[in-house]
């Protein structure tokens, strides 16, 4: 069965109320803007979103936020969207703030079948409150549980028809690690090519991680987000 879907809603059919969804991107850079747009048009609620940011005000995940479809955000830098603070103030969203390295490493662990790990990052700070502390070889560490999700929506540069992925410059960011940590992985790409067209050495995400592929219809350009 082909992984390629031409209808965005067909690709997103697996997303249910209450799901935990990883969303790639560093702000709008490397964010799956077409799939996020698809979520804004889908009747779904109570989502937990794991993403570095919740988009920008009225852009990317910011639209989903304003539709009140997000119950909880797990990320490292919500400051980039002022609407998150307003929602939080009104008690309309739950937030879990993690250091950016912990966010990334927790997903890496989740994708590798590791239940959690100890890190020095955050020791002795407010973000370590109520976290288990342990001394290893005289150094203090805190325990961080792994992160996994029902679905990951990610952005890559090219996919071959098998689902092998290559990325573009700093649009890579969280996408490859999210591809490993969710039950179902949906990717949007600039171009779909034949398997022989990607060299095995350049593939960052091997096809076994990828379930569905769509072509990007919304892309980030110098003029902002435009319809492709």
């Amino acid at each position: 069965m082909s992984k390629i879907k031409t209808d965005i809603q067909v690709a997103l059919a697996c997303v249910k109320d209450g799901d935990t969804i990883m969303v790639g991107g560093f702000g709008l850079i490397g964010a799956p803007l077409t799939l996020i747009d698809g979520l804004t048009k889908k009747d779904v609620k109570d989502l937990t979103i794991i993403s570095n940011n919740l988009g920008e005000s009225g852009k990317g995940l910011g639209i989903l936020l304003n539709q009140s479809k997000i119950k909880k955000g797990i990320g490292s830098y919500f400051t980039s969207n002022r609407d998150v603070g307003d929602k939080y103030q009104k008690g309309e969203i739950e937030l879990q703030l993690l250091p950016q390295g912990t966010l990334a490493e927790s997903m890496r662990a989740g994708g590798a079948g590791i239940g959690g790990y100890y890190t020095k990052t955050g020791v002795g700070t407010q973000l370590a409150e109520s976290k288990e502390e342990r001394e290893i070889n005289g150094v203090k560490y805190i325990f961080e549980p792994a992160l996994t999700a029902n679905v990951a929506i990610i952005r890559a540069h090219k996919a071959d028809t098998l689902g092998n992925l290559v990325y573009y410059k700093t649009a890579q960011n969280f996408n490859p690690v999210m591809a490993t940590a969710a039950d179902i992985v949906i990717v949007e790409v600039d171009e779909i090519v034949q398997p022989s067209e990607l060299s095995p050495e350049e593939i960052v995400t091997p096809h076994l991680y990828v379930d569905y592929i769509v072509e990007a219809q919304q892309v980030l350009t110098r003029k902002g987000v435009v319809q492709n």
Binding site: F26, Y77, Y88, Q100, T121, V123, Y167, K169, V177, L220
Partner: protein, 213 residues
């Protein structure tokens, strides 16, 4: 202080900070004044790392700006010869694993033991931490590039931080428009006055205790 003065001060701090960097070394630049440090690095063996996934950051001409090539402050950057891209988990493994030689950071407050606060302000919603805590625990050396005082003239170099701390680790050096301090055995040592600055002025604008040789 007018706008031009503010910019000139930021550049003065950045230029002085750049003198601390001699290659070969890998350096991570934070947001604000630290980002300006790049303009004053003329050593091609100083490699700039940005935590969103690039080792080999360089500047970019207006016509070459690529919206998908940015630094951690989401500002457009260029790709140096010998650059590499990697995912966020690998990027932070470089930081947390002790592979970055120097981190240059801005702060809200630093105390007299070199402990900093740069991610949260009490009474406001705590909305972002980014990579600050990772850089503090992981970078071999941490240098602060910061203005000496707040807009209201109050000292940012305090006896004790009143904002939530970023890490229990002390930074190694503090560079402001007035002076350069080294942190030695958890105390501040004044090692240099900026041109035209007197020690009396530094004392008047510094709440923290420091040692002047």
């Amino acid at each position: 202080m007018n706008v031009l003065d503010k910019k000139a001060i930021q550049h003065m701090i950045a230029a002085r900070t750049a003198k601390e960097l001699t290659g070969p070394c890998t350096v991570n630049l934070g947001i604000g004044i630290p980002t300006l440090v790049a303009e004053y690095i003329h050593d091609d063996k100083v490699f700039l790392h940005t935590e969103n996934g690039l080792l080999g950051v360089t500047d970019v001409e207006e016509e070459d700006i690529d919206p998908n090539l940015v630094n951690a402050g989401k500002l457009p950057v260029g790709e140096a010869i010998g650059a590499s891209y990697f995912n966020s988990a690998n990027s932070f493994a470089m930081i947390r694993g002790g592979h970055i030689d120097v981190a240059i950071l801005g702060v809200l407050q630093v105390d007299q033991t070199g402990v900093i606060a740069n991610w949260a302000v009490p009474g406001k919603n705590i909305m972002g931490v980014g990579g600050a805590m990772d850089l503090l625990v992981g970078a071999k050396k941490v240098i602060l590039a910061m203005t000496h005082t707040n807009k209201d003239g109050s000292s940012k170099i305090l006896k004790e931080c009143t904002y939530p701390i970023t890490s229990t680790r002390s930074v190694d050096m503090i560079i402001t428009e007035l002076a350069v301090f080294k942190v030695v055995d958890q105390s501040l040592r004044l090692i240099e006055l900026m041109p035209g600055v007197t020690i009396e002025e530094v004392r008047a604008k510094t709440e923290a205790d420091f040692i002047a040789d």
